[in-house]
């Protein structure tokens, strides 16, 4: 587990990729896109909860290791100000066979997105806004729904 503001590259953190006994490695790399549903993205600001973040990522990795026959897990998540094309998150899973590596990697990024305490703010040419990821906000189905979305100048 690493929670850091510094950029990283796949080559730096994974080297050749292989690990003894592992026949399969699956990685997921999430990067900053230069456009969202709403606007061009100049930068992404990621806030996190120091202390809880590390604990939560550790818990998720342990959960994956109990749930799937895997050999090792690496999670790196960045915080701070990130530019388009920069890496945000890397999840790498090593296992003897590919099915477990795919399943565990996908599980980890899914649960990370719903439980690790990170929050993204998109900086666009017309302002900054927090990314929301709640069904009420998205679908507009919840009556009297007011999400704490704060708009501000970039």
């Amino acid at each position: 587990m690493r929670v850091q503001s510094e950029p990283f590259t796949l080559g730096e953190v994974l080297g050749a990729g292989s690990r003894p006994q592992a026949g399969a490695m699956v990685t997921f790399l999430g990067t900053v896109r230069d456009v969202s549903e709403h606007a061009d993205i100049l930068a992404l600001e990621i806030e996190h909860y120091p202390g809880m973040t590390e604990r939560e990522l550790e818990r998720l990795a342990q959960q994956a290791e109990q749930r799937f026959p895997i050999l090792d897990v690496l999670i790196i998540h960045r915080f701070g100000r990130l530019s388009p094309e920069e890496p945000i998150v890397l999840v790498a899973v090593w296992s003897a066979h590919r099915a477990a590596a795919f399943d565990a990697c996908r599980y980890l990024i899914d649960v990370l997105k719903s439980s690790a305490p990170f929050w993204k703010k998109e900086i666009t040419p017309t302002g900054a806004h927090w990314v929301t990821d709640c069904p009420g906000c998205r679908a507009g189905t919840q009556t009297g729904h007011v999400h704490p979305d704060v708009l501000e100048e970039p």
Binding site: G30, I46, E47, H48, Y49, G51, M52, R55, E56, H77, I88, V89, I109, L112, K113, S114, S115, A116, P117, F118, W119, K120, K121, W130, V131, T132, D133, C134, G136, C137, Q142, G144, H145, V146, H147, P148, D149, V150, E152
Partner: protein, 80 residues
């Protein structure tokens, strides 16, 4: 004493990142604390979309608190 933290849009709305708060009383829950904080700040904190953590662990609002706890309130997470 409780140590209370706010993150992301909640922090920005309140203009406060962290604060100490006198421990209310035995049996007090995260939800009770939230009501007191909303009264203190004079505003609804999150329109029903607030999450809470106690000592770095996600908890429901029914979670009871103990003196010395760190309690955090934040919107749904959007990492990854």
């Amino acid at each position: 004493m409780l140590h209370v933290k706010f993150f992301a849009s909640v922090r920005e709305r309140l203009g406060v990142g962290e604060m100490d708060w006198d421990f209310p009383s035995d049996g007090c829950t995260v939800g009770d604390l939230l009501q007191q904080l909303e009264a203190h700040f004079g505003q609804d904190l999150a329109g029903g979309h607030l999450l809470a953590a106690r000592n770095h662990v996600h908890v429901p609002f029914s979670e009871p608190l103990r003196d010395g706890d760190e309690v955090a309130f934040f919107p749904p997470v959007t990492g990854g």
